[in-house]
Amino acid sequence: MPRVFKVRKTRRELRDTVTLELDPTEGLPLTFQAGQFNMLYVFGVGEVPISISGNPMEPAPLTHTVRAVGAVSAAISGLKRQEVVGIRGPFGLGWPLEEALGKDVMIIAGGIGMAPLRPAVCQIMAQRERYGRVTLLVGARTPDDLLYSAELQKWRARFDLEVLVTVDSASNGWRGHVGVVTTLIAHARFEPAETVAMVCGPEVMMRFSVAELRRRGVESENIYLSMERNMKCAVGFCGHCQFGPTFVCKDGPVFNHSRIEPFLKVREV
């Protein structure tokens, strides 16, 4: 059953994307791991899975960045302060921040894929000394579609984090990279044998990013992807989110690439 959360603040990120900050009306704040998701319910409209995009070390307010792509997500992005939403969760397995300790970290985010990766970046930066080289590659459709651009600039200004940004299609005045995010991998400085990669974005983008990472010598078992499928129950018994033998809701959404590689190759599986 959902818990009732009230909207504390909303922030328009992009034309179709909104970030909500939420507080529970009762009980303790929801604690979570980077990469997990909640099921968000809008009264009388429906329920959808949305990644948690806040800093796991500061779980209040609960933060969700939502892109309006359907009826429910459009309703969520239309919520105003003081309105309520039902939250079930957190669900799923998150990013391998433990496995990555002591290693170089390569984070590749495409489009709205930046939202589930943001908690990982926040947590890594909060314990920066426990990781090797940290690189963040961000791809978006156009410069106007760069999610969290202000925060990206802040991160980029740090001396201990490399941030490279590219857009598929440039607008006038853009003097940054133009091209798909895979082209940035060639320009990043990292040691493939020592790297754990975390990738999130449209499935095509993830597939090609993985191919490029492997071309560079990053092993399949050191690459992690966040998959997305239709979800209803979020606990592994409605059957909707099946991806081969896995349930994306509870065996994922973050998967080790070597585990799912055979199924990534099969169309419509």
Binding site: M1, F43, G44, V84, N230, G239, Q242
Partner: protein
């Protein structure tokens, strides 16, 4: 595990006492009945309501009831219903919600106190219950409550249908465990009785108030005889050996296109299958907009909606959806739950309007590997 050595005999005319005892204990008794030209599961109080003297003739895409030339109570196999509809109902109210201004209150549906007794559960269906237990017991409190209260009177098949293949799936025909009582019907010109094997202390307790006698050796032997008869009539078989590996290495087999040219994605197979468990949720409001309900309903992987993600369905083609169903049932189910999802009941073969036969599809894929002389690794 019950053995026929401790079996008892109940004469046919006393079977009604078993139903009466169960009713007196507060069980809601459900069992096979004839309705709409099929043998379905429904509420039952009297032995006379059973499909006495009926049998079913099944083939791929065909189901027909026929009168028998005797008065057997259980002279048929399985029909379009499975017992899952009582433990995992086709529609369940999960919760209600009330909106008051900006506030919302959720009200959980209390677990009901339904106490079922299933009369006439076949061995394949016992296995199906065990398969669904693995899916639901730890995550669905309502399922668990009903399942724990459930009393099972199994029936050993004395015949097999043309679409049955429990023998090759190792799920029958003889019920070996998972029941409170197991009945084997013995009927010929001179006698009509049931050999009763007791599976649990609860079963023994119930039997105390039903007239019975200790079974003689020749009577107990009927159990095995019935089973042999069923095995010899088994209509189909599945080479289940390394099914998981076989299907995992054949995701791109051309046979999938072949079956896709026949499949209508009508979802019949998922509806009649006793292990299919997929469901969806529906959020509804009343006209005021202040009262909402969430319902859980049966769903099928054959619909376009099932795998819909913004922008389109992951499995848009018939081929992908049929492949999903069959590889889930026979292969990925092993990795998910440690068993096969198929119990060899044959319902999907019987109730497919175009007669697609899961055993034939497997045989075709296996056969092509043998023909090529190599595995499709």
């Amino acid at each position: 595990m019950a053995s026929s050595q401790d079996a008892t005999i109940v004469n046919a005319e006393h079977l009604q006492e078993l139903l009466d005892v169960l009713g007196a204990e507060g069980f809601r008794l459900v069992g096979p009945r004839v309705r709409d030209g099929a043998i379905v599961y429904d509420d039952i109080r009297f032995v006379t309501e059973l499909p006495v003297g009926w049998t079913d003739e099944q083939e791929a895409g065909r189901y027909q009831l026929k009168k028998r030339n005797d008065a057997a109570f259980f002279g048929y196999v399985v029909g379009p219903h499975s017992w899952k509809k009582y433990l995992f109902p086709p529609q369940t109210l999960l919760w209600k919600a009330q909106r008051e201004g900006n506030a919302v209150r959720f009200v959980e549906t209390p677990t009901d106190d339904a106490k079922f007794a299933f009369l006439g559960v076949r061995s394949c269906e016992l296995h199906a219950l065990a398969v669904q237990d693995k899916v639901f017991m730890d995550v669905d409190g309502a399922y668990r409550a009903r399942r724990e209260r459930l009393f099972i009177v199994a029936v050993n098949c004395g015949m097999a249908g043309r679409t049955c293949f429990c023998a090759s799936m190792k799920t029958g025909p003889r019920a070996t465990s998972g029941f409170d009582l197991a009945l084997t019907e013995v009927l010929d010109d001179s006698r009509h009785y049931f050999v009763v094997e007791i599976g649990t202390p609860r079963g023994a307790e119930i039997m105390k108030n039903v007239p019975h006698a200790k079974a003689e050796a020749s009577q107990s032997a009927e159990v095995e005889r019935a089973s042999q008869r069923a095995v010899s009539q088994m209509g189909r078989s599945m080479d289940a050996g390394d099914l998981k590996e076989l299907l995992y290495r054949n995701y791109e087999h051309p046979r999938w296109d072949d079956v896709a040219s026949r499949c209508l994605t009508c979802a019949n197979c998922t509806l009649v299958c006793p292990t299919c468990f997929c469901s969806t949720v529906e959020d509804v409001t009343d006209l005021t907009g202040d009262h909402a309900e969430r319902w859980r309903k049966w769903d099928s992987c054959f619909t376009m909606d099932f795998s819909h993600l913004h922008g389109g369905s992951i499995r848009g083609s018939t081929k992908a959806r049929y492949r999903q169903w069959m590889t889930h049932k026979l292969a990925t189910w092993w990795d998910q739950f440690g068993t096969s999802g198929c119990v060899g009941c044959g319902r999907c073969i019987t109730w497919c309007p175009v007669g697609i036969d899961i055993t034939a599809e497997v045989a075709a894929i296996r056969g092509s590997e043998k023909k090529d002389g190599k595995r499709n690794d």
